[in-house]
Symmetry: C2
Subunit: 545 residues, 2 copies
């Protein structure tokens, strides 16, 4: 039997587009001689559909898409993910289902049993878990269909769940496992995924066909990396990351094993590629081509400019250099040097005249009050406004350049440098931004050396440095990682050896700045715990604040 893996990039709610793309893949799979083509989880409607699932019309359109695919299942069978209605009154209205389509008809439906309801996932908000587990017979083979998380309770060792879907199917003696996934990227995920798949294969001694989607859905990025695993537990082939592909495998060859094609998994390289895909898909799915960003001469905006140029092409990236009286000479020079190296359009727009007009307007009210964060924020906001003015006039999307360390401690101005349609780096700590810059420069200088080596500064008052207000980034980031990614409390972090006052201050800053993050742009997620939909904390709360 020949099985095609169709690792595709879907668009949430684009039923016609997703359907056409799948029909083309069916054609390609037939050309490759496949007997069966497998698509990812919820491929008809796109994943994650979120509360669109509450619209009956949305479900009807998903159902129609399945029927259209069924018509195309002639001379080839199709496994595809789509929401289905739960006919039982009790329980949620929908299932997250894998359809098996053959001879123009729906031959079999298997629902997902393990519904992730943590981090970015809300599946129990909409779906009822599977109660029944049945294999489907196809060309003399019994296939155990499963969906994504269904593989992640191996031997019932995941404390979140009590059912092991594949264990339930084993009495029916399946010949192979097929899994339809939409499993989001983070820089650790590819390794865990292979680990879990191999462990499943070793438990059941069956070959595994695992199809993941690729593509970015606003903030959540899917890397692809679909897998074929031989029954001896070796990876037969891992499909590429960040690109669509339809590839057919002969089950007998897979059974024999011994091929071992894997993708490289270096953390910073993965983050680099993920962010590029995240930018590209955000623009293309929204129908925009042109980005704009402010170039400060600092490392964050430099890295975003490079990523944007790589994602969209240098002709589609525009930069504003907006110096003030507090900007150092080298800031403009460094920013200009980068823009020239990248070949992107740049304009210099000093903010002092606008700043002065604000100070004049505010003078009757500010008179007698010392200059403070109010004046600093005005500068950051003028820059935001100028960028948004160009964005509104010419149809560019503003890229936000805030990094995760700043986003965590609120070291940024709401409606100022926190503006933007998409936040590129807000899941990348400052120390990782440096690593990204070095990675970008590995084959020759793209980002000016001076941008990388000078001490970080917001340049909103004379001789300001980030380290005036914040701990050094290597310490800060280590504390933030424990608090955010690892959910360790103050006592645990202090016990690791960090200075108590620094820990308490950092955690307090994280908590009291929830109000800023609430109004931040969507953040491209590359870590196991990103700001945004996967991290839900009260704005008004007293804990550690």
């Amino acid at each position: 039997m020949k099985i095609a893996l169709a690792q595709l990039n879907f668009f949430v709610g684009d039923f016609d587009g997703n359907n056409s793309k799948m029909l083309a893949a069916v054609g390609e799979a037939k050309k490759q001689g496949a007997d069966l083509v497998v698509f990812p989880e919820l491929a008809t409607c796109g994943y994650p559909p979120r509360d669109f699932l509450e619209f009956d019309d949305f479900i009807r359109r998903s159902e129609r898409s399945v029927l259209k695919l069924a018509e195309a299942a002639q001379g080839i069978a199709i496994a595809v993910g789509s929401p289905s209605r739960n006919p039982v009154v009790q329980g949620k209205d929908l299932h997250n289902s894998a359809y098996f389509l053959e001879d123009g008809k729906i031959k079999h439906v298997q629902h997902k049993a393990l519904l992730p309801t943590y981090d970015v996932f809300d599946e129990y908000r909409h779906f009822e878990p599977a109660k029944a587990f049945n294999v489907v017979e196809f060309k003399g083979k019994k296939i155990a269909l499963s969906i994504c998380e269904d593989l992640w309770n191996l031997g019932n060792e995941n404390p979140l769940y009590t059912v092991v879907p594949l264990d339930e199917m084993m009495p029916q003696r399946p010949d192979l496992i097929v899994n339809l996934s939409a499993s989001p990227f983070n820089y650790e995920h590819a390794k865990s995924r292979i680990h879990v798949l191999r462990a499943n294969v070793q438990r059941y001694r069956l070959p595994m066909i695992y199809v993941n989607q690729i593509g970015s859905q606003t903030d959540i990025i899917f890397d692809g990396g679909s897998l074929v695993v031989s029954p001896d537990g070796s990876v037969f082939e891992e499909l590429p990351y960040w690109e669509e592909c339809v590839k057919t495998f002969d089950l007998e060859e897979v059974m024999r094993g011994g091929r071992n094609v894997e993708q490289p998994k270096e953390k910073i390289s993965l983050i680099h590629d993920a962010l590029i895909l995240g930018i590209r898909d955000y623009f293309s799915k929204l129908g925009f081509k042109q980005a704009i960003l402010g170039l400060s001469g600092g490392i964050d905006s430099a890295v975003v400019a490079v990523l944007a140029a790589r994602a969209l092409g240098e002709d589609n990236v525009r930069a504003l250099l907006m110096p003030s009286q507090f900007s150092s000479d080298h800031s403009v020079n460094d920013a200009r040097e980068l823009a020239v190296r990248l070949g992107i359009q740049y304009d210099i727009m000093p903010i002092e005249p606008v700043f002065d007009s604000y100070l004049t307007a505010l003078e009757p009210h500010f008179w007698g009050h010392p200059s403070n964060v109010a004046e600093e924020n005005i500068q950051a906001r003028i820059r935001g406004m100028l960028l948004m003015a160009i964005s509104n006039k010419f149809g560019n999307i503003l890229l936000n350049t805030t990094n995760k360390s700043e986003m965590a401690v609120g070291y940024g101005t709401l409606y100022g440098d926190m503006c933007g349609g998409l936040s590129v780096l807000a899941d990348v700590y400052k120390t990782e931004v440096f690593q990204l810059a070095h990675f970008i420069n590995k084959d020759g200088i793209v980002i000016p050396e001076n941008t990388i080596i000078k001490p970080p500064s917001a340049e909103l008052r004379p001789n300001q440095k980030d380290s005036d207000s914040l701990p050094e980034y290597d310490i800060l980031d280590a504390i933030l990682y424990q608090y955010i990614e690892r959910r360790q409390g103050p006592h645990e972090i202090i016990r690791m050896g960090f200075d108590e006052a620094t820990v308490r201050r950092a955690l307090r800053l994280v908590n009291i700045n929830e109000f800023k993050r609430h109004q931040a742009p969507p953040v491209l997620r590359v870590s196991p715990k990103a700001f945004g939909v996967g991290r839900r904390l009260p704005i008004v709360g007293k804990y550690l604040s």
Copy 2:
């Protein structure tokens, strides 16, 4: 037996504050001669704690709070809600529990079985449902303890659930039902709550003590309205809305019934009071006193100014009037008249000089391009920036005045009139804002007549009217209500008799403006479906867009 209902306002994560407040209520209940005092759901840590529940330290502090309360349970028993650890490896780590404390000890723990995971609720994200149901004996009576949603699957008629917690307890022959709640307000909720409680009582023929929290938690408002229901199904007493109270009832009197104290439930009056509580708690819990807002002369900002003055006192509300060349004469006059009537501080700050400085800075780039939304947005953003400058300098929180109709269709400027720490009206449709204005004026003019009768306008270009870009609000709001609150799709709404083109345009506007709402301030929730945490939709999506 005498039972005290302690309807209190908690602060998420303020373990010491919540504990002191409960200890004081224990003292008050003792003074009233109570044998048992009942607190709301998750009272130790505050509700909703959200992902703070993922911190072991947070749970330890909740546990310590329960133990402190247990020490105080001398001569009086205490029922209190708090998270508890699930000792079983399989399943979520926590339960949402009701503790029964007596003689200095934890006597009984009953977990919540029905975990709302829809709209603003994420309980299955953190909690494992109860599997066991046991009554607790106290002074010769058997008490069926339950938590909030546990009452809401009466006769298993709620399709979301399969268990009926009180049915499970009935074989143990309880004498009364006690329910610990944290049940958020919306303008329909008080009626449904009484309906469901009476239906429970009629099913089981038992008296019911129902204790709800009051207070606002960022965006989610709790009204109180705790209830004592007699076994004949009559409401013995409904406690007041919007205020803390500790009140003791004699169970024998409750058994006899015939008291029937209920609160008035007029929709606009409830919304008015809810918004005032929402503003007041947001400020007091964040430790702020002073609000600022822009007064345009229009109805939205006028209503917010009145609500803010009522919530915080007129001395704590400051207004900026920021006319441009496109402002009509009456705008400033109407705004000034309101400020004078309310007795709030106001300043007039024309934006033209700042606007000119932006146009000068942008002239080399905008030259030859016709004036469009870019210039309109600059004006709205200058106003936002001036308000934020005063806010930053003097420590006021900026109140956002966007209404739900505008928020729905994106009729507002990101980083402009969409700025603010809290959105007061973004869950109130424009037609309801008019009703609020009439309600405010019912005993004499507060909001100038002219503000109410003139056609709504953003005044960002000459002679602009909202109706130039949008359908009339009575039609628009009716369509939005069907789409947002009722989750009806385009076909269903058109079938109700609305013009097809208008429906499609309105739904499209809602969907393509998800990016703006993503960066909006938290929205005080007063309807059954508010923008914010209870409505989760993709920013990048093609459905109906």
